[in-house]
Amino acid sequence: MTWLRKNVVVIAGLLTLAYMILPNIVVMVFSFNKPNGRFNYSWQQFSLDAWKDPCGVADMCESLTLSLQLAAWATVGAVVLGTMIAFALVRYRFRARGAINSLIFLPMAMPEVVMAASLLTLFLNMGIELGFWTVLIAHIMFCLSFVVTAVKARVMSMDPRLEEAARDLYAGPAQTFLRVTLPIAAPGIAAGALLAFALSFDDFIITNFNAGSTVTFPMFVWGSAQRGTPVQINVIGTAMFVLAVLIVVAGQIITNRRKKTATA
């Protein structure tokens, strides 16, 4: 009993983790299913069919490519605009700081459906045709605040004396920025970029309102939940999951090696 009392936090924590991982396992297992009928919700028999032909469903891989392109461009846009704002907020004094802070905070404090609906009203009123560009505009808009927050945290913890030292050593402003400021801010920018990519790639609500007839991958999955879920969806889900975990693990190994060589 004392063992139980001592480890109650560990047990509760691991149960939560199981709750979080369970759907991923289901997605993985059901990528090997051979469903009866159109929906892939109950287990029938083992099959590799979907893995052999991952793009065998009409329009799915096209939507996946589109989502990846969108996420890439949205990341670039949000990172550039967001990093500039973050530097301005931390490094400079200017008027209307409070209003600007609120303008950056509000998109994060607003239910997505509200932003989605109001942006659609704007596009409808302006007579702008919905499609790739309207979705990109929307994605940059909601990713921006998250990038600002991530970069700002990093820039704030930066020691301003490092840049002063660079200037004392006769580095010009451009050189100081490129050789000192940017490398130190890089982890914050990278975190913001990763977040923006993930948010954009996986976004459904704002995209659904503003995409018109353009179909992103989440929209394809949504549609298939009504029409019938191909096993290939699970294949893509599993492949992305495995790939991402591999990248994270590889990154971890590389940093560990570097640390070892640095200490040796």
């Binding site: 936090v9 509760a12 924590g13 691991l14 149960l15 709750y19 979080m20 991982i21 759907p23 991923n24 289901v26 997605v27 059901f30 919700y41 109950s42 605009l81 500039m84 301005a88 931390v90 490094r91 400079y92 004094r93 200017f94 008027r95 700081r97 303008l103 950056i104 905070f105 998109p107 404090a109 239910p111 997505e112 459906v113 509200v114 932003m115 109001s118 942006l119 659609l120 009203t121 704007l122 927050t149 704030m156 993930a198 790639f201 459904f204 609500i205 659904n208 309102f209 991958f217 989440p218 999955v221 939940a225 879920t229 893509i236 889900g237 599993t238 991402a244 975990v245 994270v248 693990v249």
Partner: protein, 309 residues
Amino acid sequence: MSTTLTKEAPGPVEEPILRKPPTRKRLVPYWLLLPGILWLLVFFALPLVYQASTSVQTGSLEEGFQVTWHFQTYVDAFTEYWPQLLRSLLYAGTATLLCLLLGYPLAYLIAFKAGRWRNLLLVLVIAPFFTSFLIRTLAWKTILADDSLVVDVLNALHLLDVTSWLGWTEGERVLATPMAVVCGLTYNFLPFMILPLYTSLERIDGRLHEAAQDLYASPATTFRKVTFPLSMPGVVSGTLLTFIPASGDYVNAELLGSTDTKMIGNVIQSQFLRVLDYPTAAALSFILMAIVLLMVTVYIRKAGTEDLV
């Protein structure tokens, strides 16, 4: 915008010591801010203005909509859809509470007890993100299906009798009930609770725990008087990051629920994209926005952490 500097610029982050810079340099922050702020003004703030105008318009799709200051739309929308609105707040509130209860032990475990497993556990917390959330939400259809293991076990333990009595489930089913929707919401937003909790727990100086123990505090007292108060910033941002998106969500209610579990997001979505009754949809999303912002403001004031951003 004027270019003169104010001496007492508000905001908590003025650290750098600034000598009087030349005018060209004084303009730098404005140039840095301009593109991003313009983007937010045009694609975030301006749309809200358009939506405000739409919400007081009357007309039809064929004849066009005119601004007639028809505030009655708000009253009508509220009278017709208050059950969905209430349900949204209820589901989102329950999911937030569950996220806190489930997420706290895991965040605590990672911050204080994981040792060399810490990075692995953190990866596992973020890992679900690597699969599209719609695919994962669909997986709950399998997990909570009528003859699934989970439902059979809950049935065998007679837990479903209890939840049915409470009105959370119906008979021997879990899918297409409020419980399924709340379960999906909780699942979807758990990482948003755990990560801020972990961040604020990890910052706590371990010596504070030792000090509490030295002063004869039991583990429970240490948690209540030291750990939990110090983790409040994480609790506040975690609950906000969970509650706000959950209150406007319509994905879980659509995929895991039934017509009796429709949330306000479902109504806004169908009014906007299917019924094409723009004024009602605009009014509803304003009502949702007002309620959420009001709750968030009151909550932040009460919790006493106003410098979140």
